[in-house]
Structure formats: structure tokens, C-alpha cells
């Protein structure tokens, strides 16, 4: 009975699945589903968050409906207008020195007084950036001043009785100012203050007609034009005696060459920010620029036309913040921004003027800039007149119309620049006004008056949050949300012409030392840096990783492989910060001293390796077979041997190819003088060798395989092993020699026709460079690429290997013809994952790449990657500023790059895998 109940195995299997099994099944399934969903959600959340932070960069600015109010002194055009930072009060200074302070909400005048009775004010200038004013008088004297709003807060309790009862938000006039109860409960008192300094005589016997002033750190520079045509520039330097506390002034005056007999009195006199340039401009658009860097000998630097359009006249000329960029407005409705650039001079004319050229100008601008005297240029330069714009200049600089900010039908009436950014407001004859960002040329807002009456004066409010303008009859004010005016898609990804640069360029330079710094937020150098880092590290890491994987999986015994694979994988556990640290502090300085040796190593190590292989073949078969297990250690030995060889050869190579000093050789740039052409550094052979040795090796290898081997094979089949091996050695040595000769030939040929690799993939050496990063980051990606490739190669079915070997293929033929093609999908995804790793790598590049956002392929220069840039700058970026959001955009770009890479990798992998499935 008992026997009947027991089954074959002695137990009765329960056929019903247990509850607990069902339960755990369910738990596992839900957990996995939730986990998967969470991952997707997390990735999407990150993406959405990034987009959410970035999106405001691309929204446009908006302006509110105007607050309009009547204004006193109707009819007259004010010299300047302004407002306080809360946009409560406006002020206007009229030519008769009347200062009018009015409420922006109802236009009511609060203060109306004349600043100067006698002597009469004849010229004035006001700088919004510093709230500085300078006044010129009929007696030739000048006075400095400051027109600014003062704000003070009073506790309600301490206030005068009449003010205590104010409700929050209520505004009353008080003592020539406004008092407002702010939400915190305090009373804010706002009043315009005018501070004037003592008058100083500037020019003798003639009224001041035009004036401008520039403030330095401890000096003040004036440019003053007298009614009689005297043009002087004065540099007043204040020196405070620390002991006595007394301040002494030293004054340096220079008279600029100006001939009134040939010119009418100019409309505009402008003094650049450092007092180093004086611009004088006439109504017809003519501008003369004086170079006043040396006050003892000021010179006319250049003369040009700001309004090239026929019949146009210059109607407004203002500086942007920093007083280096001049913005001109003309009667034909163009607003242009001009600044000085300093291109390489291309020739010196007979009259001693240097002809300089600037490249990449829009054709329309370039053709206008070809100065008549350029006709005397040498022929070869004249031939290039179409691509270059030539200007003769005395100081090597030229003023270029870098930005065309606005074109319209109505002439420009007034211009105003912002006190804190590179915003510019312009008003036009048709009663409209517009707000622009000069660098990005982004149009932010357009406003207009009610009755098409033109705004005679316009101002941007101190916090860049509004516009104030007056027509002949009314004052207007608008609240404007400018958004993020520095960025447009074009300015982020395209070339932008930044102040002082010879031509539009891709630049990332987000923070500068000064208030008037122009942020340069071009993402291209960062994307480029990321690609550069990736490419150079892949060039180093991927071949090594792939070859190592092929070697361990196909040639090494499984036991040795079992030991080596974990060792390589261990490399991955090195934190990248440690690698970066080693790269920056150990490798970079060490490499700097042995650059030629290192370059030689790229050739020597494989060479030693191959020679070793051929010598091994020369060994009698018995020994070769008997010591087969010693092959791997010997191979490893080839590495230090190759390094040692390159260390020996390095100095020779440096001597012969790099004029004895590779760094000087790299740095050297031909200037065209005969002495330079004869110089040892002139030869470009060494640089080309770097490129042509590998290329020639490939060429020679191909030629041997294609032509020589088929010829030799019939012969070789009759030879014995030893003879064949000897033949191989001879063939190899001949091939190596042929490679060198071929490379030398190509290099010398290129060098002879004047091509130089310097400036492309090799150039000036800096300590932390792409080569160092390539080495270390290559090292960092080796483990992952190796592991995945090795697994991929190993997953190729054994039977394919056996089939190929059984057919008489060698290991190597099997590997190349069968294993690698079959494992292609795995190898491909290994490389892609390596790329992904390199693209996102932060610490190594942060520490070893020098973080200079330069846009050059030079392997010896540094770069800045997206990831390193985010790591460096994000902690210091002001939250929600343009910079901050642009950094998030950089993160988004990085995200997109890795996403695209991984997607491609996955797609290709799946395609390949479909094929592999059939095996």
C-alpha cells in the first residue's frame, strides 16, 4: 500500500501553486513594474525640470500699457531724462539748465528749478551708468556733478504726523520728493539729489560747446570742445595723502588737433570709457577718432562715415555701458553699434598709415569700409578687397559696425543705454520707440506714443524694468519685463560679435571682473570641448580596450583571462576624481617634459611589439611551443621596452624634427620676414609626421597585403618555417622603413608647398591639454569598453569558432572574419557606452583640461566641456539669472547628447542582435 502511494522520487508533488508563491510573484512583478516606471518617470522629471528652467530663456519680453502724463516745459527737448529705481519719479534736464522732477503716475511737477543761473550752462553730459553729470559753461569752465535719487526709509512711528496715516501703497509728495508706505510698514522717502563740485577752468576765453567726461578708478578725464574750436582733453588725477588725509589733484591737459576752419562745430563729442579715445562726429555722419592714450601726443587715429546711406544724417550717438561701444542713430532709421577692433595690420601705406583688414564682415559693410586710400594697396591685397575690409588707421585699430540693431523707415530721434546691461532704447520720428539687446541684437519691445508725436528723449529705468520717454507734450512710462535678453537661439549656438573682437565668434565667458562686462554665452565652445575630450580619449582608449578584449577572449587561455578580466575591471573602480587629480598634478607636469618621447611612444611601442612577434616566429618551433605560456608576459614586457626606446629616441626626434625644442616649435608662427622663413622652426615636417606615420603605415600595410603577399605566396609555400619567418622579419623591417620614408616624403612635400599642421591639430602647448585628458580619460573608459566587448566576443557561439578553425583558418583570421563581425553589435554598444561615459565625464576634464573654452582641435591645448562648465559655474551663478538658466541649457544639451548617443547605440545594437539571434 505504502509503495503505491509513493511516486518515483519518493515524494508526492503538490500540483497546486502555493499562495505564497503567487503572492511573491505579484510582489516581484509590481516592484519591478514600479521600479521601471519610476526610472522612466525620474528621467522624464529631470528632463522636464531642465526644460522648465531653460524655457524662459526663449520667451520674449513684454511691455505694459503706458502710464501717460502731461509734462511741464512742454515743447522743449530735454537734454536728458531719467527715473528712479521704483519708477515713481522722473526727471528731465533742459538746455537752459532747468531740472524738472515729475511724478510718473500723474505727471505732476514736484520740483522745477534752474541748476545754474550764472555763468550760463552751455553744455552738459550725463552718464546713466554712474549717474555722473558734467556741465560746461559760457566762461569756459566745467563742473562735475551727480544727479541721483536718494532713498531713505523711516519707521511709521517716527514720521511726521501727516505721514503716519498713510495706507500701504499710498504716495504723497513731501519736501520735494515722494513718500510712500511700503508693504513692510515703513515709509520710503524718495528725492532727487543734485551734488555739484567746484567749477574748474577748462578752456580759455570761449564757451564750452560740447563736453564729455569719463571716470577712472582714481582719475577723471574730460573732453571739452570750445565754441571757437579748441578741443582739449584733461586728465585730473586725485591723490590722497594717507598721512594728512588731504587730496591733491594733478592735471594733465592736451590739445587735440582740430581745425575749425575746415569743419563746422561737431554735433557730438564722446570720450571712451578709459579716456583713451575721443570721438568727434558731425551731422553728416563723419566721425573722427583720436587716439589719446598718450596725452603728450594725441593723434587722429581714423576718420570714417557712420552713416553710409546717401542723404542720411547722424541724429544720435550714445555709448553703451562701459563706454566702449558707440551706438549711432541716423535719419534713415538705422541703429548701429560700433566698437574698436584691432586686427592684424596687412600693410603700411606710403603716408605711414597702417592698413588693417577685418575679415568676415557682411559684404554690404565690407564694401563700404574699403577706404579710398586702399587703392594704393599692393595688388595681392587689393585682390582680396572683396573678402577683407580695409581701413587705414594710425593706431592699428578700427571702428567697425558690429551690430545693426534696428532698421526702419522713421529716423532715429533719441537713444538711451541701460545703466546695468547692454540694453539700448531708441525712439523714432514716427512716435515709436524700441528696446534692444545689443549683443544678441534681440528686439525686446516696441512702444509708441498716442498721437505719433516722437519721443524727444528716452531712458531705460535703473533696474531695466521699464522705459521712460517724453514727447513734446507728455511723459510716458512703461513697465517692461525684458526677460533674458542676452540669449537667443542664434546667440547661444551661432557666432556673436562681442565687443573688442575682430569678428563674430563662438565664445563662452560667462563672468567678468567689471560691472560693464559683456557676458558671452555661446554654447558651441563647450559642446566642442565635450566632443574634443570624447574624441581624443576615444582615440586612445577604444583601440586599446577593443584589442585587449579581442586578445583576452580569443587568444588567451580561459584561465589567464579569468585573472586578467577582473584586474581590468578593477580599473573602473578608481574614482574619476582621483584620476583627474593624478592627471592634473602628476601626469600633466610629467608629460610636459617628455612630449617628443611620448609622441615617439605612439610609434615605438607598437613597433617593439611587432618586432617581438616576428622574432618569436624566428624561434625554433619546439622552443616557441614549449614556452608558449611565456608569450603573454613577454608581450607585456614590450610595453616598457617600447617606452624606454621612445625615451631614448625622443630627444633625437626633437632635435631633428622640432628644432630642438618642441614647445618653441609649436609656438612659432611665421610672420613672413625672410629671417623667419629661414628659421629652424619654419619646417613643418615634424608636425605632419605625426599624421603621416600612421597613414603611411596603413598605406604600406595595405600595399603589402594587396600586391606583395599574393606575389610571394606561391614562393613561400615551398619554404620551410624558418625561412618563411625570416622572410617575414625582412618584410616587416622593409615595410617599417618604407613607412618612414613615405611619411617623410609626404610631410616634406606638404611643408615645402607651405602647409603647416601648426594651427590645426597641433599648436601651442599648454600643460593641461587634450592629450593628457585623452590619456587619462581613455584609461577611465577602457574598463567598461573592455568588459562589454569581451562579453560580446565571448557570446559568439563556440561552434562558429570551431567551424572556422576547422576550416583551417588561423586564430586571427577567425577573429577578424567571424568573431568580430558577429560580435559587432556588442562591440558597437561598448564603444557607444564608452562615448557616453566620456561625454558625461566631469572630474577628469575639470581637473586636467585647463577649462579654457577655446575652439581649436589642437591636441596640446585645453578645453572646457559642458559637464565641467556646469560643475564650475553653477554654484556661483545667481539663481534664475540668464547665466543660471544657460547652465541648465548646457545640462539639457548634455542630456540630449547622451540620450541621442544611447538611443543610436541601442538601435544599432538591436539591429545587430536580430542577426545574432539567428545563430
Amino acid at each position: 500500500m505504502n509503495k503505491d502511494q509513493t511516486s518515483f522520487t519518493g515524494r508526492t508533488r503538490e500540483r497546486k501553486t502555493k499562495r505564497s508563491v503567487h503572492f511573491f510573484d505579484l510582489v516581484a512583478r509590481t516592484t519591478i513594474t514600479i521600479g521601471g516606471l519610476m526610472t522612466v518617470v525620474a528621467v522624464f522629471t529631470v528632463c522636464i525640470f531642465l526644460v522648465w528652467v531653460v524655457l524662459p530663456l526663449f520667451t520674449s519680453a513684454s511691455a505694459s500699457a503706458p502710464q501717460r502724463s502731461a509734462v511741464a516745459l512742454a515743447g522743449e527737448r530735454p537734454l536728458f531724462i531719467g527715473s528712479d529705481e521704483y519708477r515713481r519719479l522722473g526727471w528731465a534736464l533742459y538746455p537752459d539748465s532747468t531740472l524738472n522732477v515729475f511724478r510718473l503716475d500723474n505727471g505732476k511737477t514736484i520740483v522745477n528749478r534752474k541748476l545754474f543761473e550764472s555763468p550760463k550752462m552751455t553744455a552738459a553730459v550725463y552718464s546713466t551708468q554712474f549717474a555722473d553729470a558734467a556741465f560746461g559753461f559760457e566762461d569756459g569752465s566745467v563742473r562735475l556733478g551727480r544727479i541721483s535719487f536718494g532713498t531713505s526709509f523711516i519707521e511709521s512711528a517716527d514720521a511726521e504726523p501727516g505721514l503716519r496715516e498713510l495706507k500701504t501703497g499710498e504716495v504723497v509728495e513731501h519736501n520735494g520728493g515722494l513718500v510712500e508706505k511700503v508693504p513692510s510698514g515703513q515709509l520710503r522717502e524718495l528725492a532727487l539729489s543734485v551734488k555739484l563740485e567746484e567749477a574748474v577752468p577748462a578752456i580759455e576765453g570761449t564757451p564750452v560747446a560740447r563736453i564729455d567726461a569719463a571716470r577712472g578708478s582714481n582719475n577723471m578725464v574730460f573732453a571739452v570742445l570750445g565754441q571757437d574750436g579748441q578741443l582739449v582733453i584733461e586728465n585730473v588725477r586725485a591723490r590722497r595723502n594717507i598721512m594728512t588725509g588731504k587730496t591733491t589733484f594733478t592735471k594733465q591737459t592736451a590739445r587735440l588737433p582740430f581745425d575749425k576752419s575746415t569743419h563746422r562745430l561737431p554735433m557730438f563729442l564722446r570720450l571712451a570709457g578709459l579716456g583713451d579715445n575721443v570721438f568727434v562726429a558731425w551731422e553728416d555722419g563723419t566721425l573722427v577718432r583720436y587716439d589719446t592714450r598718450n596725452l603728450a601726443a594725441p593723434v587722429v587715429a581714423e576718420e570714417m562715415d557712420l552713416v553710409p546711406e546717401p542723404g542720411g544724417s547722424l541724429t544720435a550717438l550714445e555709448f553703451l555701458i562701459g563706454k566702449a561701444t558707440l551706438v549711432s542713430g541716423d535719419s534713415v532709421g538705422n541703429v548701429r553699434a560700433w566698437f574698436r577692433v584691432k586686427p592684424e595690420p596687412v600693410a603700411t601705406l606710403d603716408d605711414g598709415k597702417q592698413v588693417i583688414a577685418t575679415r568676415d564682415l557682411p559684404a554690404s559693410v565690407a564694401s563700404r569700409l574699403v577706404h579710398p586710400s586702399a587703392q594704393t594697396l599692393p595688388q595681392h591685397l587689393r585682390d582680396r578687397a572683396k573678402e577683407l575690409a580695409f581701413m587705414p588707421s594710425n593706431d592699428g585699430s578700427m571702428l567697425v559696425p558690429a551690430h545693426l540693431i534696428h532698421t526702419g523707415k522713421a529716423g532715429v530721434v533719441a537713444l538711451a543705454s541701460s545703466a546695468r546691461t547692454r540694453l539700448l532704447a531708441a525712439s523714432y520720428a514716427d512716435g515709436s520707440a524700441s528696446l534692444h539687446q545689443v549683443t544678441s541684437e534681440k528686439h525686446l519691445a516696441t512702444v509708441s506714443s498716442d498721437n505719433a508725436a516722437p519721443f524727444t528723449s528716452i531712458a531705460i529705468t535703473p533696474k531695466d524694468d521699464g522705459l521712460v520717454a517724453v514727447t513734446a507734450a507728455s511723459a510716458y512710462s512703461w513697465a517692461v519685463d525684458v526677460g533674458y535678453p542676452e540669449t537667443t537661439t542664434l546667440s547661444l549656438l551661432g557666432k556673436v560679435w562681442y565687443e573688442g573682437y575682430e569678428k563674430p565668434e563662438h565664445i563662452w565667458q560667462s563672468v567678468g571682473g567689471t560691472d560693464d562686462f559683456e557676458p558671452k554665452l555661446g554654447l558651441v565652445p563647450l559642446i566642442f570641448g565635450t566632443l574634443k575630450a570624447t574624441i581624443y580619449s576615444l582615440m586612445f582608449g577604444v583601440p586599446i580596450a577593443l584589442l585587449a578584449a579581442i586578445y583576452t577572449s580569443e587568444f588567451l587561455s580561459p584561465r589567464a583571462r579569468g585573472q586578467i578580466k577582473p584586474a581590468i575591471e578593477m580599473m573602473a573602480s578608481l574614482p574619476s576624481v582621483v584620476l583627474g587629480f593624478i592627471a592634473a598634478l602628476v601626469i600633466a607636469p610629467a608629460v610636459e617634459g617628455v612630449v617628443p618621447a611620448l609622441l615617439c611612444a605612439l610609434i615605438c611601442v607598437p613597433l617593439v611589439f611587432l618586432i617581438g612577434a616576428y622574432v618569436w616566429q624566428l624561434l625554433p618551433y619546439k622552443i616557441a611551443l614549449g614556452y608558449g605560456h611565456a608569450r603573454f608576459p613577454l608581450m607585456v614586457l614590450a610595453f616598457p621596452l617600447g617606452l624606454w626606446l621612445s625615451y631614448i629616441v625622443g630627444p633625437w626626434v626633437e632635435h631633428w624634427f622640432f628644432a630642438g625644442n618642441i614647445k618653441l616649435w609649436l609656438n612659432w608662427a611665421p610672420s613672413g620676414t625672410p629671417a623667419d622663413l629661414d628659421s629652424a622652426y619654419h619646417s613643418a615636417v615634424g608636425g605632419w609626421m605625426l599624421l603621416f606615420v600612421p597613414l603611411s603605415a596603413a598605406l604600406v600595410g595595405f600595399a603589402i597585403m594587396q600586391f606583395l603577399n599574393p606575389m610571394i605566396r606561391p614562393l613561400a609555400s615551398t619554404w620551410d618555417r624558418k625561412r618563411a619567418a625570416l622572410m617575414d622579419v625582412v618584410k616587416f623591417l622593409a615595410a617599417a622603413a618604407a613607412t618612414l620614408v613615405l611619411a617623410l616624403f609626404f610631410s616634406a612635400a606638404l611643408s615645402a608647398i607651405g602647409f603647416d599642421a601648426r594651427g590645426s591639430f597641433i599648436d601651442t602647448y599648454v600643460q593641461r591639454n587634450a592629450m593628457v585628458v585623452g590619456l587619462i580619460m581613455g584609461f577611465a573608459i577602457i574598463p567598461i569598453v573592455y568588459t562589454i566587448s569581451d562579453d560580446a566576443l565571448n557570446s559568439v557561439p563556440r561552434h562558429l569558432r570551431s567551424a572556422s578553425l576547422g576550416a583551417g583558418a588561423t586564430q586571427w583570421q577567425t577573429t577578424i572574419r567571424i568573431i568580430v563581425p558577429t560580435a559587432m553589435s556588442g562591440l558597437f554598444s561598448a564603444v557607444m557606452i564608452g562615448i557616453g561615459r566620456a561625454v558625461g565625464e566631469t572630474m577628469i576634464v575639470l581637473m586636467a583640461a585647463g577649462n579654457t573654452a577655446v575652439l581649436e582641435w589642437n591636441i596640446f591645448s585645453g578645453f572646457r566641456t559642458l559637464s565641467a562648465n556646469i560643475a564650475v559655474e553653477l554654484p556661483e551663478a545667481v539663481k534664475n539669472s540668464t547665466h543660471f538658466r544657460t547652465l541648465f541649457l548646457a545640462a539639457l544639451v548634455l542630456f540630449a547628447m547622451t540620450f541621442v548617443l544611447n538611443t543610436i547605440a541601442e538601435m544599432v545594437r538591436l539591429r545587430f542582435r536580430k542577426r545574432a539571434f539567428q545563430l
Binding site: 562558429l800 570551431s802 576547422g806 576550416a807 583551417g808
Partner: protein, 316 residues
């Protein structure tokens, strides 16, 4: 009553069988001295093997008249410490089909793979003895394995076309020899495919992937690949085990057609196949060749009882 109890008695009336032997067979170490076995043969040979003693194989006299293409001489093979082949002595006759039969795990594949030294790839392998291929040593020092393998072709149990076109699959051995002449390649391809009775089926799709063929076609493709190399001997390891009867029939016909021109050594589990398509048959058991002779004799009047048991299906 379960099936278990039903089976027990039938097992008991057999001499000590396979499962009792497994453990002791591996005990023998390299260099163990051969033990003479008394003739005439009796049914205690298996017991002797089980005890770890060596037994000489019975080779029929008919083989002595044949010209050998492969000669196996005192061949021993160890996988690590486990001995898989014991003192094998065999002559594979030229231009004939020789079948290897025997229960699973007896070392047929090992012996076959030893002929073209594919076992070299396995770690920890030890070999004693030698083989001769047309009087050239296979295991001697100074033998170039690659050249050796070029003289043989191998067809595996599982069809293993390369993941490339049918054409490239067939001419693979020419490719690795560096043959570039298009005409030669096409010629060889056609002839080999005809030889493998596949030409008519694939002549219009030579450039499609070899993997797009059916299992039987793939196997014939592998045979075509093997004969394209013009081997001195063709080694086949259960070439039909994964095929349906029709495909098997085709391959058997093919083997018949090839014999005479090629020398074939084939491993099979299929007694009919062995009896139908081979000229000679060797019965292997636990790493030894028990009996080796003309197929007809092995199947109709074997000298050994074990052989008879096996070929009649009464064996373990």
C-alpha cells in the same frame, strides 16, 4: 504497480552496466600499464573496463587490406584528470566511409575532434600517442596545426553556417587562403554546392545570408563548405541528428555519393544510418574502441556480444 518496479528485474539480468562504471572509469591515470585481456572475447569485457582494466579492441582482418588515410596509434586523451580516450588504435581507410557508433559520452566526438586537433583549444587537455594523416604526423612536434586543418574538413552536429552570404560561406576556406580570383571562387562554389546537393535550391540566392536557409539546407551548406576545401578526410559529427528524415536521407545520399572520392569519418547514433551509408563501423564504449570492422560484419555477425547488444538495441 509503477513502471519503476516493472523495470528493475530487467536491469538485474544484465552484467554490470553503464551507471555502475562511470565513477571508476575516470580513476585511471596517464601512464597506467595496460592489462592483458584473455582471448577469446567474452561478455566480461565490460566488467573489465568497469574495473578500470584495459581491453584491446577487436579489429576485423578486412581492415588490414585497406589503405589508411588516417592512422590512430595508441591514442590517449585526458580532459584534466579525467581520461576520455584509452589507447585507441584505428585505421581509417582511404576513400571509404567509416562510422563511429557507441553510447552517449563514450568519446566519439572527442576522437573525431582529435583528428583535426580541434581539441587543442580546450584547456587542460593532455594527449599521449599520435595519429598520422597520409603518413604525416598529426601530433608530432613541428606540425603546423593550421596547415593540418586545411587538409581536413569538418561538419558539426549542429549546423553552423557563418553569418554571411551563402557564397561566402562556401568559399570561406579559399578566402582564408587569400584566393581572390572571382572565377575560381564561383567555380568552386558551384561545384561544392552541387556536391552537397544544394545547388538547385540556392543558385538564385547565393548572396542571401546563410542563416536564411532551413536546418537541413544549412547542414548541407556546411558540408559544401567542408568539401570546398578539398579535404583529404571529411569528419562528420552526427551531421543528421537535428534533421528530419527527408533531409537526413538527402545527406545520407550525399555521403554515399562522396565516398570513393573522399574519405569520411562519421559519428552517428543512428544504427540504420551507419548500416546504410558506411563501409566500416567502429563501436566505442567508455573511451575504448571495442570492435571495428566492415559494417556488414559488425551489424550481422559481430565478434563481441557487447557489439551485438548495442547494434540490436538491447544495450543499456
Amino acid at each position: 504497480m509503477t513502471r519503476m518496479t516493472h523495470k528493475m528485474p530487467s536491469k538485474q539480468d544484465q552484467p554490470p552496466t553503464g551507471h555502475a562504471v562511470e565513477g571508476t572509469a575516470s580513476a585511471e591515470q596517464p601512464g597506467a600499464s595496460p592489462v592483458a585481456i584473455p582471448e577469446p572475447v567474452s561478455n566480461n569485457r565490460l566488467a573489465a573496463i568497469a574495473r578500470g582494466e584495459n581491453v584491446t579492441s577487436l579489429t576485423h582482418d578486412a581492415l588490414k587490406k585497406e589503405v589508411p588515410v588516417v592512422e590512430v596509434k595508441n591514442f590517449n586523451l585526458w580532459y584534466g584528470a579525467k581520461k576520455a580516450l584509452f589507447d585507441i588504435n584505428m585505421l581509417i581507410p582511404k576513400g571509404k566511409v567509416t562510422a563511429l557508433i557507441g553510447p552517449s559520452g563514450c568519446g566519439k566526438s572527442t576522437l573525431l575532434r582529435s583528428v583535426n586537433r580541434l581539441n587543442d583549444l580546450i584547456d587542460n587537455i593532455q594527449i599521449k600517442g599520435d595519429m598520422l594523416l597520409n603518413d604525416d604526423s598529426i601530433y608530432g612536434p613541428g606540425v603546423d596545426v593550421i596547415e593540418l586543418r586545411k587538409r581536413m574538413g569538418m561538419v558539426f552536429q549542429k549546423s553552423n553556417p557563418f553569418p554571411m552570404s551563402i557564397f561566402e560561406n562556401v568559399v570561406y576556406s579559399l578566402r582564408i587562403d587569400g584566393e581572390r580570383n572571382r572565377r575560381t571562387l564561383e567555380d568552386v562554389c558551384e561545384r561544392s554546392l552541387r556536391g552537397a546537393a544544394l545547388w538547385e535550391e540556392v543558385k538564385d540566392r547565393l548572396h542571401e545570408s546563410g542563416l536564411s536557409l532551413s536546418g537541413g539546407q544549412q547542414q548541407r551548406l556546411c558540408i559544401a563548405r567542408a568539401i570546398a576545401a578539398e579535404p583529404e578526410v571529411l569528419l562528420m559529427d552526427e551531421p543528421c541528428s537535428a534533421l528530419d528524415p527527408i533531409a537526413t536521407g538527402k545527406i545520407e545520399d550525399l555521403i554515399q555519393a562522396l565516398s570513393g572520392e573522399y574519405s569520411i569519418l562519421i559519428v552517428t547514433h543512428n544504427m540504420q544510418q551507419a548500416s546504410r551509408s558506411s563501409d566500416f563501423t567502429a563501436f566505442m564504449y567508455l573511451g575504448r574502441v571495442i570492435e571495428y570492422g566492415p559494417t556488414l560484419d559488425i551489424f550481422t555477425k559481430p565478434l563481441c556480444r557487447e557489439t551485438e547488444d548495442y547494434v540490436t538495441g538491447r544495450f543499456g
